[in-house]
Symmetry: C2
Amino acid sequence: MTVIESDSEGKPLTGYTIRQAWVASENGYDAVDVRIENGRITAIAPQLDPVGTVVDGRDKLLLPGFVNAHTHSSELWQRGMIPPYPLELWLAKLYDFTPADAEQVYLSAIGTAVETLLSGGTTVVDHLTIMPGQELETIGAAVKGYREAGIRAFVGPLIQDQSLPSSIPSGGQPSAYEPYARTTQETLDLMAEAIAQFHRPDEGIYIMMAPTGPQLCSDELFAGCNELSDRHALCRHAHLLESKAQQLLAEEQYGCTAVEYLKRLDFLSPRTSLAHCVWLNESDTQLLAVTKSTVVHNPLSNLRLGSGIAPILKYRQAGVNVAIGCDGSASNDSQDLLEAIKIGSILHNVTDFEYRNWISPRQAVKMAALGGATGLGMQDEIGSLEVGKQADLVLYDLTSLSLLPRTDPIGLLVLGRPVQVVSSAWVAGRQVIADGNLTTVDVNHLRQELFARSQWEFDHDSPTLEALETRYRRVMGLGE
Amino acid sequence: MTVIESDSEGKPLTGYTIRQAWVASENGYDAVDVRIENGRITAIAPQLDPVGTVVDGRDKLLLPGFVNAHTHSSELWQRGMIPPYPLELWLAKLYDFTPADAEQVYLSAIGTAVETLLSGGTTVVDHLTIMPGQELETIGAAVKGYREAGIRAFVGPLIQDQSLPSSIPSGGQPSAYEPYARTTQETLDLMAEAIAQFHRPDEGIYIMMAPTGPQLCSDELFAGCNELSDRHALCRHAHLLESKAQQLLAEEQYGCTAVEYLKRLDFLSPRTSLAHCVWLNESDTQLLAVTKSTVVHNPLSNLRLGSGIAPILKYRQAGVNVAIGCDGSASNDSQDLLEAIKIGSILHNVTDFEYRNWISPRQAVKMAALGGATGLGMQDEIGSLEVGKQADLVLYDLTSLSLLPRTDPIGLLVLGRPVQVVSSAWVAGRQVIADGNLTTVDVNHLRQELFARSQWEFDHDSPTLEALETRYRRVMGLGE
C-alpha cells in the first residue's frame, strides 16, 4: 500500500482510494476507482486522483458488505457438538450447555465478527442469548467484542417470558410449566436499560427489540417491545415459523397462523426482520409483503435441524424482502456468509422446475447486501456501491486458487467455495481487513483463547432432552 | 518434523510415525500413534517406537482419505461461468466452451487434485471429457496431472455414441439427430488402447469403463464396456437418472426405468458406481441393493442444476452403498469435498421428520471414505484406519480458527466450514501434503498458469442452448 499522507499544500489526507477494482455493471463489470472519505463513499469513476491510502484493486472484485442477518454469537461455544436433532430437541441440548461468563460471551462475539468479516460480511445481527442474572453484563460483553472487531452490529437480546417446554405443541394434553425466570416487566425494564447503555447508532452499535418468537413470548411482551421500538426507532427481530412443530403450536394456541398473530400484535413493519419463515402459507406471505417485513433466510441451519426449505422463490415473487443469515454456530456450524449465500441461492432450484425463477449469483449478492440492509431499515445507508452511502465495502482477491481460472467474478464467488479471498474490508470507512488480515483483532490470540477455554467433548446425555423427547415424538406422529 | 533417518544399527529407515493423533473410537476418540511403512499402515497403538519421519499428531484428527467419487476435471475451466440452468440446458452451455488443448486438461486435472487433497480427499474419480481427435492425448494429460499431484486417480473417459439432442425427451415429436462423431467400435478400440497405455493399479492410476449414461449410449456400447471391464477387472461408472427429463426419456425409450434397463444390460455390479441417482423408485433401489452397486451422491451439483434431492436416506435404509462426489466444477463450482460431505449429509434432514434416520457426522465421514472405496472395489485396500490397508490418510489441524472452540472433532469438521485445515496427507504412504502445503505441486505456479490461460468472461450466447430450449420447455411443461 502506498500512503499519501498529505496533499500538495501539506494538509493531512485521510480516507482511501481503491484503484481499478472490478465492480458489477448492468451486464458485466467495470474497472473503477472508488474513494472513501469520512466514512462514506465520495466518488466512483473510471479514474480518480488518489487521496488517502491507495489500495490496489486490480484483479479484485469490490462488493458492498453483506449482512449476517441472523445469528446467536454465543453458540460458538457449542459448534460441532450437538448431534443431528430437530429444532425442539436440539434446543433442549443447547440449553443444557450455555456459556456461563461474560468473557466467553465477549470472545464468541469476536469470533462471530471475525468469521463474518472474513466471508464478506460487514454487519452482524446477533440475537443474543443473555445469561440469567448477568443480563447487562452479557450485552455489554458482546458489544465490547463487536466494537473491538470493528463490525457494524445489531444486538437483539433474546427475550421471552415463557419457559422452553411451552414451545412444543401439547397435542391435546396440556400440562403446567414452571414460570420463566424473569417477569415480563423485569424484561422490559432490562431492555430500557440496555438501550440507554448500549444503543449508539452513530458508532455502529444498535440495540434491537428481539423477542425469541411467538412460541415463547406473551402478548404483553410483544406490546412492550413495540413500544420501546417505536420510542427509540429500534429494529424488531424474532424467530418465525422455523419448524413444523411451531406451525402446529400456532394452530393450538392462537387459532390462526403465527403470522396473522404477529400482525394482530402489530409487530410487523418495514424495520421488522423474521428469522427462518419456513412454514408460511400464501396469505402469510402476502402479510409480510404488505407490511414490508423482511424474511431472514438461514438455509444451512434449516437443513441441519431438518426444519425444511423456506419457500424463498415464492417470497421473492410476492415482493417480500429477503436477507441471508448464518444462524448460530450450534446449528450451522459456521459463520461463513459466502457458504450461506451459495446454499441459500442454489437450494431453491430443486423447488421449482421453472428455472427462470431461480436466484442468480448477482441476485444472491443483492439479497445478502441490500436485502440485509433493508431488513434493518438501512437501505439508504449501506448495502450497495453508491456515492453518499457509508463505506461498508469488501474487496475480494480474484487470484486465489479457489477463484481460478478467471471466468465471471460473482459467479465464482457465489457458486464456488472461496477460501480466504477477502483482501480488504471497510466498515463505515474504517479498514478492518487489510492484505487478508484483520487489522482489529489478533486472530492467533483469539485462537489461543478459544482453545484454552474449551475441551474436547462429545455428545452428552441431556436431561432436558429426555424430558421433552417423548412428547415431541407423540405430537409429531413419530411413534415410540 | 523430526526425521529419524536410521535405526540404531545405522540401517536407513523409511516411512512415517504419526504421534498422538486423535482417531475415532466407538463412542469418542483415542490418542494413538500410527506407523506407515512401504505404503501401508503397519501399526496403530497408544504408543509406538518411532520409525521414519515423525509427525506430531497432537491436537490433530486422523481420518482415512475421502474419495471424490464423481467429477469432470476439465470443467474447472468453466467454473463460475454458467448461469443457473437445469441439466439439459446447462449441458448445452457447457458443450459450447470445452477445453481445446492437452495442456489445459493437464492443468485442470492438477487443480482438481489439489482442491480434492486440500479438502481431505486422497482419491478422485474423473469422468473425463475427451477432446475429439485427441482422445488419448486428453487421457494422457489428465493421468500426467494426477501422477504429478500424487493423488489416487480413477480415470473414466466419458464415452457415448449418441449426440446431445437425443438426451432430451422427444415428447412424442421425435426428430433425427446427427450421428455422434465416433462409431461405437472406434470408441471401444480407443478404450482398449487407453487401458493398455494407462491402467496401472500398482501405481495408483486406474482406467474405468464409464459410458456417459443410458441417455447417450447404445446397447452395443454398454456390452463393449462390460466386456472390457470383465477382461481387465475395471470399475464401471455412469450417470444415472440425474434429472426429471432423464426419467421421462427412459420411459420413452426403454419402456422401463433406466435402472431396469441397466440391469438388463448387465452393467450393475459391485464394482459399478452411478452418479446422481435422483429419480429412482423403490424397486430401482432394490435393484441397486441386490447388485451391490454404489450411488455417488453429488448434492451441490444436484442443487445447482435443480436436479432434485437424491433419496439418500432411503438408499441407506435399503442397504445401498453411498459415496460422495463434487461433480465437475462447472456444476458445483468447487472441488471441496468437505463442503460436499456437509451438504450431502444435512440436506436429507428436510426429507424425513424421523430424525433417527438422519446422517450423523461420523456416518458422513464413513460414506465419503469407506463408501467411496467400496464403490471402486477398494474396500479391502483403503477407506478406513486399519493395519494392513494402504496408507491413504489425512491429518486435520484442530487448532484452526474454523474448528474452534474445541468440542467434537468430527462434528466440527463435517458441520462447520473448515478453512485450510488439512495439515498432512498421504496417498499409498507417500506424503503429498505437509504442514498444510502440497509437497508435489507448486500451487503458486498453478495459480499463475490458470490465471494466464483464462480471461474474465461473462455469460455468452449459446447457439446449442437456443436450439434446445424450446423443446426442453415444451417437454417439461414450462410454457413459452
